[in-house]
Amino acid sequence: MSRYLTPSKIGLLALISLYTESVVPSAATIPILSFLVSHILPVNSAASQHTSSLQARHVTLAIEDFQKATISYVSGRPGRTIWDLLLDKLWKINSFDALHIFFDTLSKLLQKPPDEQQQDAEDGTESKSNHIRLSRASPMGSFVRRAQLEFTRLQFHDGVTLWRKFVAYRAPTLPQWKKRNQSADQISFDANLQEEHLNLGDRLTDVVYGELAHGAGHGASMSTEDMEKLLEYQIDQMQRMGNRLPQAMKAKFRAMLDIGVTVPNLSHYVAFLDAWRSGDYPSSFDNLHRYFDYTMHNRDRTFYQYALLNLAILHADFGCHSEALAAMQETISAARENNDMGCLNYSLSWLYHFGKAHPEEMDDIQKKGVLGTEKEALAFLKAKAKETSMWGLLSTSLLSEAKLALSSGDSIAQAFESIVKSSHLNVTKNVANAAGSQMSMQSSIFGRLGVSCQAWLSGELFLQCYTDQSPVEDVVHCICRSALLLAQRGKYDDALTRMEEVDEETLRTLRHSQYWTSNLGLIKLRRHLHRNNLVAADMILAQLQAPPNLPQDLQFAIANLEIDLNVRRGDYSKAMDILENLASRLIDGDADVFQRIKVMTLKARIYSKVGIPQKGFSVALRAASLAHRARLLPALWEAIGAVCAILISLKEFSAAAKLLDSIMPQTLECEDCNLSAQTFSLLADAHMGMAGQTKAETLPRKEQMTKALDNIGRSFDEFSRIEDIKGQCEMMAKKATIMHLNGDPVLANDCAAKYLDIKRAAKDQR
């Protein structure tokens, strides 16, 4: 594999020289030039998405591409297309020496350096031809100069290899060339052979052009430079999107790398990323070390800090937190030493996020005061990001600020301000890959505020607009989130189809597939719980608890459902144990408020289930006040529900009813069927209680009873929407009781029959 030059580059050079000879008519100038430029310009990773993918597609340029690009244009010479002229030019390179001459004469395409120009002016030898001279600094000029330089650098045998590849590359055009040039024949690719009247079978030809004579063509001829470009593109994709190499692509890469003797170092990095994503811990370490061993001192820069950075992230990914922290601290000090601001800021921000995810590991860091308190750290990061204009970092820092504000229960407006700032940055500075986190942040704020439809909308918006440009991780998260929202509304099938929307390729990454399966498990578990299919639920739960290193929120959700399972089984003491266990982990001040409230509410609910609701009073009240402070509205409604249950048990029915009535609209807004069912059921209970307090057979009692029935009906609807058998049965039982009280045995019987039907149906479904 040559370093830079390939047969296709010779083709480009020939086309450039044609262009400078002014035989390209003005109609064809723009297409030809754009064809040239699209292959000459280096891939600019900072440029927009589309151009870079375009470049990658054209990394090997077949002779047919030249034909396609040029054959339709008539040249300045009558009767000839530009393709004809190009062929003429290419076939005139008819020996290795001619190739040398071709490269030597390339300098005539360029403008002379200023001193020579002056010399010419003095001598009066200014050439008056109509040749276009390329400026030395123009893209084409620098391409020509680079090609010339690379050719000079070639060793003789490398030159010969290039020549032979070129001959093979050009060979398919022989028939076309023959049409224009009758004398051409099988061996006219080398004038020396023609002169000696040799043919393809001759021994001498065999020595020089062995494989050509036998018709064995090379594969696509690539230069190391092309290969590196391709690998860079690949790494860029992998890092930005966080996905793995598709299998077919991997095979192709391997085949390409097998041709060349010099394996570009970057290929080790690709191997590292791929192994990492596939969760192959030892080989990812191996490849990372290999890569950095080869490139430790490259182009007069040391990459020690980057090696450490990668190492730290890798460690963290595989759950070795303390190693990760040690490596990251080393990274920070190395980056400081080498004055590498980009690396430093990135590692600090990483450290911050790591601390958020794993607060228990951070004691050491806190003590050393690398970051100070959270707020200080964020302010520092923001300032640094602004200083070095790392807009991506600034955007994420702003998001983190919003998150911090939310979790510590600060003002919502402030959080929104941060989000909007970040959004503004994303748009103005074109930080496309930060859009994902910003949108999901927005969605989660709306979720917290209980505006479910808004939360849903932002998720949809993201999926519609930013899927192609965002890290795969964000996409997966967003899809899971919206699926959960669907499940909350009882649309299990929709939720499952939504989950299936995730690209199969994506799931080849271990982390993504873990996240995805956990979420899928959660949805299924919830459905089974609701259907009272406890055995299946138990199984799924066991599966869910198996993988280590799940994100904290997932772990929490799983624990939640486990408690639910135990409650449904009636094993309250176990449920309580798990709850206590969970609560003790959340005692830390840094824990998410939402989870704490959730735990408290659950506790209150368990107490009410076991018949001692008053015991949960203080917990429920605290939960309510906490939720209120943190503007966690769904949690607040749930907590209020718990409080109301206590009120009902204290026979404070009217107060409970009043409270529930007032929260009802907003509860409905949350679109959480379970919550609304529970609330309706409570409301029914309250009304029932109020009915009990009135005299029998009076209008108020009837009124209350009707209200209770009404609410029971609504609650039943909600329960049936989420397929909650137990809830449905309960409601039916209540309804039957009320009917019975009303003295309407037929209707009561109906309800009882329905109750049995539901139970049977659930059993059948199982």
Partner: protein, 651 residues
């Protein structure tokens, strides 16, 4: 004829086996090539020499030349060889793996004290052979080189074959070490001063061995191989006459060892040496081949040589070696087209053959055939890019492209591969001259000359380099050497003449110039018309105007104006009769050149001074027409007019 051929073939095959038994690979290759170039005879031979799997047929051939091991007619040697067969095989396989020291150690248990070049090494003679030394009487003979210490044969009792292999391995080990010590080409350690440290030990033991044999009266059964080795050692020690003597002895005993002949030809520095030596040589076909080769190396491209070659080609019609010699003869006589066509057919016949391609590339270089040279380089690279010949071809190509840095790189590579590769040293010198690095050029040329004292191009190059440094007396010496090697080359004499001129010895300078003129005419007779591409306008019957002009100027310097004038006239005469349009009419003359017009100018002035104003006027007018120095001519005409107008006063 047929039986003769058959016998020759058999002898050559035997020689191949013997050479390869002794790990003399190149000689074996040469002999094998030669044996295969014999004409095919019907019946037996077809299956015998062209079929690689001929071992099966070997069995039923009565004389039974074993392809594995040669038999030895000497019963004593045969007994010894049979005895040490397994050890010998071990040693040979070590040698084949290039483990020279280990190979030597199989037969010579650390007996040859290698090491410093102290004239005597006491250890060598006091220490008795540990293993095989029991029966060996310590006979001593007066040492011719360092007479003080008597020499004993300290070698164990071995067959000559094993002994040769062991000693040769020692020698090779020393050569290898020497090359390693030299480090980089032209680097600080590469002064040509490092020597093979094994030589002393080898010389002493061999001498002892020979003395021992002589004393026992066994000299007659010596096989000739050890003589060859001894001669090499002697030649390395710069005792050429002794080396020659031993080589002649060796070729008498085993004439088919081409390596010995090569060494012998390397020791001849003049054609007279060859003539002297011929009488002492055995009378067989190898001597004829040697004579031809040596003549070629000494640039004797005469009819007799060609005749000799024709004779040989009757025996070996297919021999590539002989064809190469023919091509080289043509090359020396500047018949490049002929040489090129021979080389080209050789290349077509065997495209994998790299031997001699460097010479081919020289021919192409002189012909300035760039595409062909590139193609040749391509062919050579395809076969083996790490052969010194290949590197030279590539270097020549780059040199022709004026990419001198790259050319030097390739010549250096050739030298790294083989430090004794003569033409690379010379060519590298040329490149350094082009790059104006005179000191490196001088060193390169010097190394070339050290390897082969017959290389006139290196001598000439040295002369040029010193001329550039304006050390003319020094340069003179080198030019003289070059001229003595190639007396028929005018440029050598011109160099000599120029230097004589510079050191103010005009008489000798004129003589040298005249020699150069003689050489020129010689060429014009000897070579065909088309080959004169490099020599400017030296076509038939025309002498170089520059040379004539230079002679004229020298005469002028010596005050012999009449002589000078006559030479100026001669210079002018070289323009030829049709001097109307210098470019188009390429008659027998050179046309107007710088030298001729300067001569005309001089003559015009001279006539003017003598008072022959009419002729001066005529010449000046001619000058105005087509010369380089129109302004001067016009000034002269003005003077002339003035003089004519003022009345025909005497000068």
């Amino acid at each position: 004829m047929a039986s003769n051929t058959e016998q020759l073939r058999r002898t050559l095959q035997e020689a191949v086996v013997k050479c390869s038994e002794r790990c003399l690979y190149q000689s074996a290759k040469w002999a094998a090539e030669l044996s295969n170039s014999l004409p095919e005879t019907p019946s037996t031979s077809t299956s015998f020499n062209s079929d690689p799997d001929s071992q099966m047929q070997d069995a039923d051939l009565p004389p039974s030349v074993s392809t594995f091991l040669s038999s030895n007619p000497d019963p004593e040697e045969a007994r010894l060889e049979a005895q040490e067969l397994s050890k010998y095989l071990l040693a040979k396989s070590y040698f084949d793996c290039r483990e020279y020291d280990r190979c030597a150690a199989v037969f010579l248990p650390s007996i040859l004290a290698r090491g410093p070049l102290t004239p005597t090494s006491p250890n060598a003679k006091t220490r008795t052979p540990t293993k095989a030394g029991k029966g060996k009487a310590k006979e001593s003979s007066p040492n011719s080189e360092n007479g003080a210490t008597p020499l004993s044969n300290a070698l164990p009792r071995l067959s000559q074959k094993s002994l040769f292999l062991a000693m040769y391995a020692k020698y090779m080990a020393g050569e290898k070490r020497k090359d390693e010590e030299n480090e980089m080409i032209l680097g600080p350690a590469d002064g040509g001063g490092t020597v093979n440290r094994e030589l002393v030990g080898l010389a002493r033991s061999l001498e002892g061995w020979f003395a021992d044999r002589a004393a026992k009266g066994l000299e007659g059964s010596n096989q000739g191989w050890l003589e060859y080795l001894y001669a090499i050692v002697l030649a390395k020690g710069k005792t050429d006459e002794d080396a020659k003597r031993w080589l002649i002895r060796s070729v008498h005993r085993c004439p088919f060892n081409w390596g010995a002949w090569l060494e012998l030809s390397g020791l001849l520095s003049r054609f007279e040496d060859l003539q002297k030596i011929v009488r002492e040589l055995p009378q067989n076909i190898m001597t004829v081949i040697f004579h031809l080769y040596a003549s070629q190396e000494l640039y004797q491209y005469t009819e007799t040589t060609h005749h000799q070659l024709n004779e040989l080609e009757r025996f070996f019609p297919e021999s590539q070696f002989l064809k190469t010699q023919r091509a080289l003869l043509f090359y020396h006589s500047k018949d490049y087209d002929e040489a090129e066509s021979i080389f080209s057919t050789l290349l077509h016949a065997d495209p994998h053959r790299i031997d001699g391609l460097d010479e081919y590339s020289n021919v192409l270089y002189v012909m300035a055939a760039r595409p062909k040279l590139a193609f040749l380089a391509q062919v050579a690279t395809a076969t083996d890019k790490f052969r010194p010949e290949t590197c030279c071809v590539v270097g020549n190509y780059y040199s022709l492209k004026s990419e001198h840095e790259k050319a030097v790189m390739y010549f250096r590579r050739a030298l790294t591969l083989d430090r004794n590769f003569l033409s690379a040293w010379t060519l590298m010198g040329h490149e350094y001259v082009e790059m104006k690095n005179t000191h490196a050029a001088i060193e390169s040329y010097r190394r070339a000359v050290d390897v082969n004292r017959k290389d006139y191009r290196a001598w000439y190059g040295l002369g040029q380099a010193y001329e550039v440094l304006e050390m003319h007396l020094y340069a003179l010496f080198y030019y003289q050497r070059a001229a003595s090697l190639r007396p028929s080359e005018p440029s050598m004499w011109q160099g000599v003449a120029k230097c004589y001129d510079m050191v103010d010895r005009p008489v000798q300078s004129i003589k040298a110039y005249k020699r150069s003129l003689v050489a020129e005419t010689y060429y014009n007779q000897g070579s065909s018309f088309g080959s004169s591409a490099t020599n400017g306008g030296a076509s038939q019957g025309v002498l170089s105007p520059q040379t004539l002009h230079a002679i004229a100027l020298l005469y002028e310097k010596m005050g012999q104006l009449d002589e000078a004038a006559s030479y100026m006239e001669m210079t002018m005469a070289q323009e030829g009769p049709g001097e109307d349009d210098d470019d188009e009419v390429r008659g027998p003359g050179t046309g107007v050149t710088n030298a001729t017009s300067q001569a005309r100018m001089w003559l015009a002035r001279w006539e003017f001074a003598r008072g022959d104003l009419a002729r001066a006027m005529e010449l000046a007018n001619e000058l105005c027409n087509d010369s380089v120095e129109v302004e001067e001519a016009k000034a002269l005409i003005r003077d002339l007019r003035a003089r004519m107008e003022t009345g025909r006063s005497p000068s």
